[in-house]
Subunit: 396 residues, 2 copies
């Protein structure tokens, strides 16, 4: 309970950001001071900055068993432990843990909140040392490469020279790919899941719809909602609803909801939620705003939109992977229309053209893009097989 | 230029509704008085009400050459003549006209603005005689069947007993199907294009996103924005942007926009429109609000969501078409993911099961749902062939 003016102001900020982790992470935090600035693609430096992270398992003596897990758009570093915000289990606790595909009895797993996020790493809700106020849109636009650059500084801080593996889905998969391009010698094995080497026009379009929804909300105040104790709740909820539809498949929606009515026998002839799918989406929107900062949502979507590895290599994706020694395992999901199999396969083809070691599997499922977060036995088996094989090759 | 208080109030209403056609249609209008109420599925009657419409060509002496054209979600009755609002040619002037697939030298073409619309037919922006104020959300929810019931009254008013053909795409196609179910003896030939016998869960989801965007806009004022001289411009623009993405295909977006930048050589590292697809969508949103009433958008999307022919026939679609004498021609577009070929084919299968006369063609195109509004030679040829053959059978 706030007792001082400073406490009250902090409480306002926490409320505006959506959760208290922004200012008071319950996880370990790595601080980087003035002597260790983060150089950003935007041409500016972020300093000081901090990275909130979690680790699971034990680093071996050779420091050769570290696995970096990269989270998706609205994810966080609570990959395998309970979220302090939602109270839910870690978002990938089905994959990471003792005896699981990423076995914490064997591996030292690191997961950090990305730069630009809102769960303890420096982002738009963080205090700008130049003004004493939250950055808001004064934070430079962050790229996937910036996120990876920050992660590399964290990994170095943890005393690790080479990662055994880097794994992540969706925006996390983009980070995995960027790791293999930015630090090819520091990644033994890479698992980009349900992702692509660039964000498609359609995906940019959906992100732009979400951003416009946030920015159309008068409570957004040009990104300075903190100063007035407001939050663009409605706009952010609409953005989340629009995005959420893209995470599912038509088939999954049909199977799960169809045209089933919500709490009623007949149509209501009004604009309340008649259909279960409407209630479901409204719930998704409303719960999201309780845990996520609206400006962070703008930054995360922008980072994905800007992602285009080939663009950095004269338009030829294979050139990004020339001489790659990393072992790759890509996984796509048959009903994922946000990052369809073709987008994943384009990366496989580029890796083949670069003579890299690559395996690829498309998992048959009707659960759409979200499948990478769900119980998918064939997906788990694919990860398990690849990771075990890579571990043997690594002498683990 | 307004000169009286009444004129000023009217101007405010026109501005709030998005266009002056709402109150002052430049087309013919059929008025239905207290003795001719429109009975609605919501269990209420609409009275008085009016229907704005256009006709092209000449009705023959036998009154056997009438073609009813049904418009889509945000369409209007300017199917083959210049829109008084946008100044653009009629939305289907490529199909309707002298020597065109729907040949106005041979046929008498009728196109009316649907009930619930905002181009001159009674809708939420119309004045509620009970209050003297615009209906707003006091207008009962309108269904596709209500729209068709109103059209049938118009057709009767025009002295036509049986329509030679009914044709329309998307929501227009829903009306075509409903015509053959509600008035099976009054439709000689039916052409439902890019549509389905029910609205899918995914489509309801996207519509709900749009409605929430409109209703989240504080300028919506619970649907009573007229009273305060406001319009939920931003919310409606976001709704239109979200919907517009679903009208295109990933392929079309990639071909047309890809990741091309707008008016710049390099990324802007900000939240202005960097990519052409962003500028395009923003433009679509902004121009839409200049011509469409926000409440009408809620009513139109709801009508589509409620549409489920099988639901009216114990869940068995074929039962809706038992004994059908109408000749059907269905057309789908290969890259349409809003009404994919399977949804169209489900109607074909039901018609087959009901032993109806039906032909079906899937047009190969990468232009998505919008293809039904575009120059698609194979589509035009299919309509031309079917209409000519049906005209011969009809003795025209």
């Amino acid at each position: 309970m706030p007792t001082t003016i400073a406490d009250t102001a902090r409480q306002d900020l926490e409320n505006a950001a959506g959760n208290r982790e922004v200012y008071d992470p319950s996880s370990p935090v790595a601080h980087f001071g003035a002597d260790e600035p983060l150089l950003l693609d935007a041409g500016r430096a972020l300093s000081p900055f901090q990275i909130a992270y979690n680790t699971y398992g034990t680093l071996n003596e050779a420091k050769s068993n570290a696995v970096l897990v990269c989270h998706a758009l609205t994810g966080d570093h609570y990959a395998a432990s309970q979220s302090p915000v939602t109270g839910k289990p870690g978002w990938w606790s089905s994959i990471i843990g003792p005896g699981k595909p990423i076995d914490t009895d064997r591996f030292f797993v690191i997961c950090s909140n990305v730069i630009g996020g809102c769960m303890g790493s420096t982002g738009p809700a963080s205090i700008d040392p130049a003004t004493g106020e939250p950055y808001g849109l004064d934070l430079p636009v962050i790229t996937i490469r910036d996120m990876v650059r920050a992660q590399a500084m964290l990994v170095e801080r943890l005393g690790i020279d080479t990662l055994f593996a880097v794994i992540g889905g969706s925006m996390g998969g983009m980070q995995v790919l960027q790791w293999t391009v930015s630090y090819p010698d520091k990644v033994f094995a890479a698992l980009p899941i349900a992702t692509g080497a660039r964000h498609s026009s359609q995906n940019i379009a959906f992100h732009e719809v979400g951003r416009q929804a946030v920015m159309a909300d008068p409570d957004w105040h040009g990104g300075r909602y903190f100063a007035v104790g407001k939050r663009p709740r409605k706009g952010l909820a609409v953005a989340r609803m629009a995005a959420h539809v893209t995470y599912l498949s038509e088939m999954a929606l049909h199977r799960k909801f169809g045209r089933n009515l919500q709490d009623r026998e007949t149509l209501g002839f009004g604009f309340d939620a008649d259909f279960q799918i409407e209630s479901y989406l409204r719930h998704q929107g409303m719960t999201f705003v309780d845990r996520f900062d609206a400006n962070s949502y703008l930054y995360m979507t922008r980072a994905m939109d800007y992602f285009d590895i080939a663009g950095d290599f004269g338009g030829r994706l294979a050139n990004a992977f020339l001489g790659a020694k990393t072992r790759f395992c890509l996984v796509s999901f048959s009903s994922d229309w946000l990052f369809p199999t073709e987008e994943n396969r384009a990366v496989v083809h580029a890796l083949n053209a670069a003579a890299a070691s690559v395996s690829f599997v498309e998992i048959e499922t009707d659960r759409g893009h979200d499948a990478f977060l769900l119980e998918e036995p064939h997906f788990f088996a694919a990860i398990d097989g690849f990771v075990s094989s890579a571990a043997r090759a690594r002498g683990l």
